[in-house]
């Protein structure tokens, strides 16, 4: 745990309640303050959110990671992302995503899809992305540096 005034998030899962314990914390030199709460994960069934999205989040993460990502497909899909997510970011508002580890990438993107991670733009982008496509993207970005 980084205790130098940075914000961190600790994630724990409970598949049975298909909810998620989210802990947000801030650390100072004197110690850390952590606040936790359970977030119920909405299940989407609409066409907008891709085919397998009525799965609980945790299972969706597992499923995407189990799909072998088609890096060539990922390279095409990534052309959409890189308009904003360049190799160097102008400011903190749009992060660099090239080189993100595959499992981190998948988890973060699915959190947008399931609307547990905030940013309406990213929620919409992920809302229409299928699991196979996400796997392809994750594979592509994880191999870039």
């Amino acid at each position: 745990m980084d205790c130098h005034g940075s914000t961190f998030r600790y994630l724990a899962r409970d598949w049975h309640i298909t909810g998620r314990i989210l802990c947000a914390g801030r650390c100072f030199i004197s110690g850390c303050l952590v606040v936790c709460g359970i977030v119920m994960i909405p299940h989407f069934a609409s066409a907008e959110t891709g085919k397998s999205s009525d799965l609980p989040l945790g299972e969706a993460i597992g499923q995407v990671l189990a799909i072998e990502g088609d890096a060539e497909y990922g390279a095409y899909l990534a052309t959409e992302c890189v308009t904003c997510h360049q190799q160097e970011s102008a400011n903190h508002a749009i992060p660099v995503i090239e080189g993100l580890p595959r499992d981190y990438f998948v988890e973060a993107m699915l959190e947008y899809k399931y609307r547990v991670r905030e940013n309406t733009l990213m929620q919409a982008v992920m809302g229409s992305l299928g699991l196979e496509e996400l796997s392809a993207l994750a594979t592509y970005f994880s191999t870039k540096d």
Binding site: Y73, T79, V82, T83, C84, H85, Q86, I94, G127, S128
Partner: protein
């Protein structure tokens, strides 16, 4: 394929004595030619991404009238004093030097579709295997009675960025307390649906920050409603109370006549006087698209929703403002996204690259007042032969100041990103 590899390849060709005698012939025979008309959001993005992916497999020629491109996006922020003009103006040097693209600074005068070649204003004839047409819009000046291209020096439209934007800026900066600004907004379809209303916000911001509280801005709109209306209206009420009046056609009854010299706009309802007129007329696809028979009765170009290929000519792709892209708005963001689809299909046509299901994205950010950004956007796909929205988002009226500031900061990073994506 990186630009470095391409440069290295060119150097190798240059250094090899054996190849010296006939590299031109070799290259002409083995490489297919892609010609792109228009070096804006659609054309520049296509050129750069195609060069990056195709490497030396294709000859890429970009025909663009201007030496430099001033983006319409963020031109309103220039009007509002948030950007200087040079920060929204970009050159083609990196596309030429790092990506090996041939830039022809000339007008494409004629497309000979049967001979597959383009004739330029400098008298050159450039053959193509595939042609990409992204000429943006032309303004239909006489759609506003009394307006003309000549009169746009006095009553600027500033709907093509460049000198027009600078004229409008100097007129805004010359306003005195008590002056009124009248904007005639465009009818649908036009480039950048939220653009006129962001512009109103930026003019109001300047007036307010200069203490010209007795100035007013009147918008005479041929449309009943407009993009992000609830968000803009709330913003005007909050930051510029009493300064902005917006009238739709059911109030003003129609724009009958403008008198640019007198600065008046006559409607069924009233005659509005002004110290500054901003007239944004109706629009159609850039002339080259119209004259080449690529448009239909709407004045824009029908395309195949999966590929942006012209439905009139299979060797031609049309994208950006000139195209009829279903539910997608005419925006730089949309043109940039369409370019990625065009590149995939160019590569599939001319090399052995794979084709994947098409996705499109659009996001339009607007600034209402310092650190108060709003956004609207959607993801799109080909649904039964038409580009249709698959998911969407829009800023909310009850959002926190933090979110609005974050949205504004996103727009800064987006601008930086898209201009790098276009020009390298």
């Amino acid at each position: 394929m990186s630009s470095v590899t391409r440069r290295t390849f060119n150097k190798l060709i240059g250094a090899s004595a054996g190849a010296m005698a006939m590299p031109g012939i070799l290259r002409a025979q083995s490489r297919k030619n892609v010609v792109i008309i228009g070096g804006g959001a659609g054309g520049a993005t296509t050129a750069r991404h195609l060069a990056e992916k195709a490497g030396d497999a294709l000859n890429i020629t970009l025909i663009e009238d201007s030496e430099k491109y001033t983006t319409c996006f963020f031109s309103n922020l220039y009007l509002g004093g948030y950007r200087d003009f040079s920060s929204i103006t970009h050159g083609y040097d990196r596309l030429v030097n790092d990506y090996g693209i041939r830039k022809v600074t000339a007008r494409a005068e004629e497309i000979d579709r049967s001979a597959q070649q383009v004739r330029t204003s400098t008298g050159e004839t450039i053959p193509y295997d595939r042609l990409v047409v992204s000429p943006g819009i032309d303004l239909i000046y006489d759609s506003v009675p009394g307006y003309s291209e000549e009169l746009s020096e006095i009553a600027p439209h500033a709907w093509k960025a460049g000198p027009q934007t600078q004229i409008l800026k100097s007129k805004i900066d010359a306003l005195k307390n008590g002056d009124q600004v009248v904007m005639v907004a465009p009818p649908n379809p036009y480039r950048c649906p939220p653009g006129p209303y962001e512009r109103v916000s930026m003019i109001a911001h300047i007036l307010k920050s200069r203490g010209l509280d007795d100035c007013g801005i009147v918008v005479l709109d041929p449309k009943e409603k407009f993009s992000k209306q609830g968000l803009f209206s709330a913003g005007w009420e909050k930051y510029y109370p009493g300064m902005v009046e917006w009238y739709g056609p059911n109030i003003h009854g129609g724009i009958k006549e403008i008198d640019v010299e007198a600065g008046t706009v006559t409607t069924d309802f009233d005659t509005f006087g002004s110290a500054l007129l901003n007239i944004i007329p109706a629009q159609r696809a850039g002339r080259i698209a119209v004259e080449s028979g690529l448009t239909n009765d709407s004045g824009f170009c029908p395309i195949d929703a999966e590929s942006m290929r012209s439905t009139v000519d299979k060797n031609i792709f049309v994208l950006g403002d000139a195209s009829i892209a279903g539910a997608m708005p005419k925006s730089g963001s949309a043109a940039n996204s369409q370019a990625k689809v065009v590149v995939m299909h160019l590569l599939a046509d001319l090399t052995d690259a794979r084709v994947f299901p098409t996705r499109y994205l659009n996001t339009c950010w607007s600034l209402v007042e310092t650190n108060d950004g709003i956004k609207v956007g959607a993801q799109y796909a080909n649904k039964d032969g038409a580009i249709a929205s698959t998911s969407s988002f829009i800023s909310q009226n009850d959002e926190s100041e933090d979110i609005r500031k974050q949205t504004f900061e996103e727009s800064l990073a987006w601008y930086d990103g898209i201009t790098k994506d276009m020009f390298g």
